[in-house]
Symmetry: C2
DNA sequence: ATGAAAGCGCTAACAG
DNA sequence: CTGTTAGCGCTTTCAT
């Protein structure tokens, strides 16, 4: 407490015990007499003791900090994802450290590999895959530290992964448009991908396209380049809305409208599309029905309210934290065992058992039918 | 490099220098021969050396980490604020650590005072005041660490503060409604506060009310309890919209509508109000004009697009970082001087000079006139 | 149930 | 310009 900083030593002295006993008492470790613990806690309280985490981390190699890596903070999707992950992390007694890559693959890779914090400051990392390239040697990039991938979409995952219900969700969205009577459905997202090439896609967008095209083909509707419009965010969504609107107006009422429904590969784009259609004098849902996917909060307040596929981000966060805490615990026991076993050696092989294999989970979703599809 | 972990020692050994020289070389400190530095850098690269920040922090007491405290991640306002602050922090070579308090004053206070990281892990803190009580002894809570308050709204600031243009922005918003022809303007926000009591308010909402009421009174329009509707977010905004709509419909077209304009104390509420008015069959802007304040991204994509007061969050972030880096540098030099001066004592008084006084800045804004006010 | 010793990896301070 | 010494505050290990 010399410099206004109370150290463990000070607390121990005030309680009349050794630093080690004070440490054990403060951490609630077993094997400390109740009366001793009480003395220590009282002293700590009185001296306003705060543990020095840098010292603790340096010695123990553990921080309880989870590194969360996403593209950005300011989007309806990411802000919700980050909030779910950060809240779940805190609920488990861990500390979330959120980093944004601003959509730079370099930044994402550096966050995982060259970040000076990673080695010592983080117990584990949760990264949203989009922005990384596909099929990176993630486990290696991460040097074996506990890692969970969000929406990695790999067919054979190399690390623990929590996926969005991309294919099923998109299929449900398009089926909903069909049930609402749509027969000419446009898709707003990225590039057109021929159906055959969708068999082994490993991206979120590819899977959504697979689900959407599947629903179209099952219903005997067209899936080809003519129904595709580029637009992955609101700005491009507006342009897509204009293009779709122009196509509708060019044909005119008489000969049947070319589009009466739009599936957007994310909500953000859907808001833009609605806006763009409105700019052309087309009404949603009367003239064209629109559905998104993601379930961002804003869809409940927009005009019209947005039909969407709501994904369960709280469930996602629980899955991700289950996976990461399991890895962390596992690593601690293995390390502990390895250290005390010394050079037994033979054990090293058997640790690569089933529990080392990458886990995979897919989160749930539900269709929210709102005004934009005539609900 | 024994355990897969390369230490500074290893690098120094490989480069044939002492650890201290290696450290200086890696940190780009002056006073290292260029050839020596090159050797060290090469060795570090070859051995894939990464500094152990916990050790560095423990010894030096500096981390380059800035603690950013906000209410939550998932709102259009906070996600934008966090992104601006995090990006500006990174641009200055510092590391942002964002924490959410979930609107709990306890959590906010703990983040500042009892957070075990604060003492050792953070070089400074930037906190958005809302959620803290008013007029807390912030400087004391923070134990003298560098601290910047966002929108503290204190008349006589106790710490460095960057304020929003609450009063002027609200005034400009209401003036805009008046210019658009509105004569019966409702206010959606918190509780009604009599004009007299607004003289010395120290909250964001109070200042906005002062600006709004000032504009109304200047134009000879009413400011009283009958024009106030409760609603600080979209959910309550919808209810406010319903109430305003009901009031309009109750009176009927003939006797003149009671409300033809709505000023919302934030954008979030404005989206709800528009939604609520629509539920009652009222059109924005034809029947009622609506304006918000904050300038959240979504206003550009909604239907109708939202007129708002756009505040310059990037400027805010620059101001905040200017203030915090100044405090950090100042603290370092003072500490350094103090240490070498030994027990000179007399100097202690003179360090409390003008540069110790709390700084205050107010960020800029501009009116964005969009569809919701008939633009 | 408690304590003593040792040292995590780095950098401030000073010596050369 | 470079090296040596010391120690940040804690926790692991081992002894009592």
């Amino acid at each position: 407490m010399a410099n206004g900083k109370t150290t463990l030593r000070d607390v121990a002295a005030a309680a009349g015990v050794s630093p080690m006993t004070a440490s054990n008492a403060l951490h609630g470790k077993a094997g400390v007499k109740e009366s001793t613990r009480a003395k220590v806690l009282a002293a700590a309280e009185r001296l306003d003791y705060r543990i020095n985490l840098t010292a603790s981390m340096l010695k123990s190699g553990r921080s309880n900090i989870i590194h969360i890596i996403v593209n950005e903070f300011d989007s309806p999707f990411y802000s919700k994802l980050v909030q779910a992950l950060a809240t779940a992390t805190t609920e488990r007694g861990l500390t979330p450290f959120v980093e944004q890559t601003r959509y730079s693959p370099t930044a994402a890779e550096r966050a995982l590999t060259r970040n000076p914090f990673s080695d010592q400051l983080f117990d584990g990392e949760i990264i949203h895959a989009s922005g990384l390239g596909t099929n990176l040697p993630l486990a290696r990039m991460n040097a074996g530290r506990p890692l969970v991938l969000i929406d990695g979409c790999e067919e054979t995952p190399s690390v623990d992964t929590v996926n969005f219900p991309n294919e099923d969700g998109a299929r449900a969205a398009v089926q909903h448009l069909i049930e609402r009577g749509c027969r000419h459905i446009a898709i707003v997202g990225g590039e057109f991908v021929p159906r055959a090439e969708l068999a082994h896609v490993e991206t979120s967008y590819g899977l959504r396209l697979r689900g959407a095209s599947g629903a179209l083909l099952d219903a005997g509707l067209a899936y080809d380049e003519s129904i595709m419009f580029y637009g992955y965010n609101s700005d491009y969504g507006i342009k897509a809305g204009h293009a779709i609107g122009d196509a509708i107006l060019a044909v005119g009422e008489s000969s049947g409208r070319p589009f009466d429904g739009v599936f957007c590969a994310n909500d953000y784009a859907a808001f833009g599309v609605i806006r763009g259609l409105k700019d052309r004098g087309l009404r949603v849902p009367d003239d064209v029905k629109v559905i998104g996917i993601d379930g961002t909060s804003f869809g409940a307040y927009s005009t019209p309210t947005l039909s969407t596929i709501q994904v369960d981000l709280d469930q996602l966060a629980q899955f991700a934290l289950d996976m990461i805490t399991r890895r962390i615990e596992r690593r601690n026991t293995v390390n502990g065992a390895g250290a005390s076993t010394g050079s037994a050696g033979a054990d090293t092989g058997s640790v690569a058992d089933a529990s080392d294999q990458p886990t995979r989970a897919t989160i749930g979703y539900r269709l929210i039918a709102r005004e934009s599809t005539g609900a």
